[in-house]
């Protein structure tokens, strides 16, 4: 829902990093996005065209790597991907606790000219 603001930030970071590496053109930006971040790939792509226009990032390809949210069962200790409904452990039915997996939201690397 807030892709407008975060895509603007993403372009800013990408261009700054490209300039620091002595590049004037970004070919590809590889993003890692956790499922808990409430970020939709298509929406990022749409705003990216708008914000990248006239910058070193214009025309760059966006590669999205989605990371599923993982929970850890307090009863049996198993780590599991967040089920579509509820949070309970699929093995023993115990209560889950959120882990750090699924909160990612960063630029991993870029291909530049």
């Amino acid at each position: 829902m807030h892709e407008y603001a975060v895509t603007q930030n993403m372009v800013e970071i990408a261009v700054r990093e490209a300039v620091a590496a002595g590049s004037k053109k970004i070919l590809e930006i590889r993003l890692v996005i956790g499922d808990l971040s409430s970020i939709i790939d298509e929406s990022v792509s749409m705003y990216f065209d708008f914000f990248s226009e006239g910058t070193a990032a214009q025309g760059a390809k966006l590669i999205f790597r989605r990371m599923p949210a993982k929970l850890s069962c307090i009863a049996c200790g198993q780590e599991y991907e967040k089920p579509r409904s509820g949070f309970d452990c699929p093995s023993c039915g115990g209560e889950g606790r959120l882990t750090d997996a699924g909160r990612e939201f960063y630029i991993e690397s870029m291909e530049v000219e």
Binding site: M1, H2, Y4, A5, V6, N9, M10, E12, I13, A14, E17, A18, A21, S23, L31, L36, S37, S38, A69, L71, S85, G86, F87, E95, G96, R97, L98, F105, Y106, I107, E108, S109, M110, E111, V112, E113
Partner: protein, 210 residues
């Protein structure tokens, strides 16, 4: 040529949030970022706390448009600044930076930042606050911690409002608490009704000690 970046995209916001945090500390401002869906009772709870507690308060009102809430708070004689996001779904650190810096009306107070009514985006934007206060209300249903994981996970304090409606609504309290335990077992939870005053004493006592 490949370049490694490994930069958190929220860093742009987080850096300004850190500046805000320093400013708040230097000026004796304790900040609570108040988040909830529209109509959960953010303004009502803020107003009740300001009415019942002896502490000194100030408020920043975040709304997509209008200054209805700010006018109510201004009527109480409390320092209040309105931010209109003009369609934006959340407040960010820069918006807070712009209105806070140099405004002595906020100094040495508990500052409530009433975020835009939305259970999704505001949780991603650090404003430099010391406390995240999330309000849920009985008519919204008990499943909100399951559906809006990030918001409830981010909360330091969760307030369940409109408890006077419990007899009329199928709100499963056990399921609500189970959701909170899963996403945020450390959160402090209060149950209140702004309408009949139930539970407000404890909340007032808590805000008196922050």
């Amino acid at each position: 040529m490949e370049i490694k970046v490994m930069k958190n995209i929220m860093d742009v916001n987080n850096k300004v949030a850190d500046l805000n945090r320093d400013y708040f500390t230097e000026h004796g401002i304790t900040v609570a970022n108040v988040m909830a869906s529209p109509g959960a009772g953010k303004t009502s709870i803020i107003m009740k706390l300001m009415e019942l507690s002896k502490r000194r308060f100030s408020v920043i009102e975040g709304d997509i448009a209008s200054s209805i809430d700010a006018q109510k708070i201004d009527g109480m004689g409390v320092h209040v600044v309105q931010i209109n996001t003009n369609g934006g779904c959340h407040l960010d650190a820069n918006m807070i930076h712009t209105v806070v810096e140099g405004d002595a009306g906020f100094d040495n107070s508990i500052l409530f930042i009433e975020n835009v009514g939305n259970l999704v985006c505001p949780s991603s934007f650090d404003l430099g606050e010391g406390l995240k206060l999330v309000i849920a209300s009985v008519p919204e249903g008990h499943d909100k911690p399951f559906k809006y994981t990030s918001m409830f996970e981010a909360a330091d304090v969760i307030i369940l409002n409109k408890t006077d409606l419990l007899p009329y609504i199928d709100f499963d309290r056990d399921a609500f608490y189970k959701g909170i335990r899963t996403v945020n077992p450390e959160a402090k939870v209060f149950e209140v009704s702004c309408r009949n005053g139930e539970g407000l004493d404890e909340l007032v006592k808590w805000i008196g000690g922050v």
